[in-house]
């Protein structure tokens, strides 16, 4: 009796659930993409790495055991020519060539890396999306002027694309003089052509789609179609690209610092500078190069994993 009523209850619950589904709201594309993202292990790994990285970058500097600029090793006489103390109980990753605590420098350096990565990507995204958006809109509206604006902007972008990205970044950094802002601008500018081309191409392909024609045949005005249909549908690849660009921005910022074109303020530790300093001591303490390099690699990997997973989740061809 109890079993039957239990089964019956289950059945009723199931029916109620099915009936309730009809009242449920539809699942939008973004919600659907998010569901797919959650089921992708690569996305989870990427997200966990990035979450750790962000937490370390934000709260880490308040918790580190030593000041990243305190030359403990020299004060205590631990640093002698040809000797750099390695890992011990007090210093988890040992000391660097100036006797500073390597672990503290690594943690504080994460903040710098995150800042440069995010700000430079935002610069690239903003400028690139502006140029790409204007060119895409001009191409979509057509006419002699539209085509002229589009062609001119795109030839300019092609010139930027023709230069190797690191060379371009180095030239800009050298031209503007070394500073933190310069690094951000240089790394940001390098990603401008990618965002511009991507948004323009995406807008043009959306502008030729049937639903835009359908909106035209409904009598909707062109600017409104551009804002309500074309732009929102063109953004998905740009967002994916922004995530992937964060990875390259971090690597490029480190490369600039490595080449001595980074932030001249040595009181702020930076992974690229740490890597550059470490190369003279590779034979004594190879770990000094390994730790910042691993930091760069793992962070870039995190962004890449998440970006690729987002690309898959947002790809209409894979949608079922």
């Amino acid at each position: 009796m109890t079993i039957t009523s239990g089964k019956k209850k289950q059945k009723i619950d199931r029916l109620a659930e099915l009936a309730a589904r009809d009242d449920e709201r539809g699942v939008s594309l973004w919600q659907e993409a998010f569901r797919r993202l959650r089921r992708n292990p690569a996305a989870i790994v990427g997200a966990v790495i990035l979450a750790l990285f962000v937490v370390v970058a934000v709260v880490g500097p308040f918790l580190v055991p030593y000041s990243p600029t305190d030359t403990i090793g020299i004060r205590d006489g631990l640093i002698k020519p040809g000797v750099i103390p390695g890992i011990d109980g007090d210093h988890w990753l040992g000391l660097d060539h100036q006797g500073r605590d390597e672990f503290s420098r690594l943690v504080v350096g994460a903040r710098q890396t995150l800042l440069v990565g995010v700000v430079s990507t935002l610069i690239g995204l903003a400028v690139g999306a502006l140029i790409g958006g204007v060119a895409g809109a001009a191409a979509g509206l057509g006419g002699r002027w539209g085509r002229w604006i589009d062609s001119t902007l795109m030839r300019f972008i092609d010139m930027m694309l023709a230069m190797p990205s690191l060379l371009l970044a180095v030239s800009i950094a050298a031209l503007l003089g070394a500073s933190l802002t310069t690094v951000m601008i240089a790394v940001g500018v390098v990603s401008v052509p990618v965002f511009a081309r991507l948004l323009r191409g995406s807008m043009i392909s959306q502008a030729n789609s049937d639903y835009v024609l359908a909106a035209t045949s409904l009598g909707v005005r062109k600017p409104k179609i551009a804002l309500t249909h074309v732009v929102p549908n063109s953004l998905a690849p740009v967002i994916v690209q922004a995530t992937l660009t964060l990875a390259t921005a971090i690597i490029e910022a480190a490369a600039l610092s490595f080449l001595g074109l980074g932030n001249p303020d040595t009181s702020v530790p930076e992974w690229g500078v740490m890597l550059a300093d470490a190369q003279q001591y590779l034979d004594i303490r190879p770990g000094l190069a390994v730790y910042p390099a691993l930091g760069i690699i793992i962070t870039a990997l995190g962004f890449t994993l998440l970006g690729e997973a987002m690309r898959e989740a947002l790809d209409p061809k894979l949608r079922k």
Binding site: S209, D210, N233
Partner: protein, 367 residues
């Protein structure tokens, strides 16, 4: 038929697309003549079917009729109003009265809009409905008319099946209360079982709302079922136009005959003995159409005179209009078909001019 009964009249419509080349800035090197001089009239409340192989310009004609693709030349008169010269603002207002149904219901619906938003867009554009509730009432009635449940409103296109999506597309066109609907391959992207449902839905809607249709399709059976009048297009021009049944029983133009001979008959005995006219070669390039009659390069009845140098106009023969110099002689059997060898279609300015048709051989050799 009096002129008052004509809802749409197309006069000598031409749509030429420029072919552009250039390294930095484009220059025009030629034109693709997608639609090259079409005349047709669609009576109010009737269905005009447009058939032809892919690339013949039938979709472009439909879009040019609705001014979605600007025509190069010619006129489109909709209920007495000439559309090609209408100012943009007035044209937008007119759009309420003429709507379109698309081939692929997935790509013609914005994936980011839910059904309510899709159906509201047109209403807002034309200021139909006093407030949100009023618009919801109109949308609800439209959903009922196309056979979609009310809960569809909050759903997104990707949550529906192909047939349901096409119903959403039809609802989007209907919600404005149009008089003319241009349906561009409305069922060809759907499963056969769903095709019948959608065709019947279009039929019912025509009966209850008095709609006028221009149905563009390559499926001859669908067009025959739904149309009152059928026009056959070849390479940007109409070659024959006739009442639906007459076109299928008595095709007059050689191209129509070839098309009709490709329709399978649902009787194995008849099907086995059915005479098939296989056309040689491909559709010539609309950038460089053949001289004279556009079909003469592939026509089994092509004659040494007139066909290659004189473009035939639509002539009335009985209830049909045919663009063929020899339609009567072909119909009476005086002219027999002959073998046609496929030719290489050359780009303009290269090689010898096309138009050489091999000598007639004995009748029936094309089978």
């Amino acid at each position: 038929m009096s002129d008052d009964d004509i809802l749409v009249e197309v006069r000598d419509l031409k749509v030429h697309f420029p072919i552009k080349r250039g390294v930095i800035f484009d220059r025009t090197v030629g034109h693709v003549k997608a639609v090259d001089g079409v005349d047709l009239r669609i009576p109010r409340g009737k269905t005009y079917g447009l058939v032809g192989e892919s690339g013949c310009g039938k979709s472009t004609l439909g879009r040019a009729l609705l001014q979605l693709t600007p025509p190069t030349d010619g006129q489109v008169v909709f209920d007495g109003v000439e559309l090609t010269t209408l100012p943009a603002g007035k044209l937008r207002t007119m759009r309420r009265r003429m709507q379109m149904i698309f081939q692929d219901p997935m790509s013609s619906l914005d994936p980011r809009q839910n059904v309510e938003s899709i159906l509201t867009e047109g209403l807002q554009t034309h200021g139909i409905g006093k407030d949100r509730d009023d618009r919801r009432r109109i949308i609800g009635e439209t959903l009922d008319a196309v056979g979609l449940p009310r809960w569809a409103l909050s759903r997104y296109p990707h949550e529906f099946s192909g047939g349901q999506r096409q119903r959403i597309g039809i609802a989007r066109a209907l919600v404005l209360g149009p008089e003319l609907i241009v349906a561009d391959e409305p069922v060809s992207a759907l499963d056969v079982s769903i095709q019948a449902q959608v065709v019947n839905l279009l039929d019912e809607l025509q009966d209850s709302l008095g709609l006028t249709y221009l149905v563009i399709a390559h499926d001859l059976a669908v067009v025959r079922h739904i149309s009152d009048m059928v026009g056959v297009m070849y390479l940007g021009a109409l070659v024959e136009e006739a009442p639906s049944d007459r076109l299928y029983t008595e095709p007059l133009h050689p191209y129509t005959r070839a098309l009709m001979s490709a329709v399978p008959v649902p009787d194995p005995d008849v099907e086995d003995r059915r005479e098939r006219i296989l056309l040689a070669g491909d559709l010539p390039s609309p950038a460089n159409p053949p001289s004279g009659c556009r079909f003469h390069t592939r026509c089994p009845w092509a004659q040494p005179t007139r066909c290659a140098d004189e473009r035939p106009v639509l002539r009335e023969i009985g209830a049909s209009r045919v663009a063929c110099h020899w339609a009567e002689q072909i119909a009476s059997g005086e002219l027999r078909p002959h073998k046609v060898s496929a030719e290489v279609v050359r780009p303009e300015g290269e090689g010898e001019t096309p138009g050489v048709v091999s000598a007639p051989s004995e009748p029936g050799s094309y089978v």
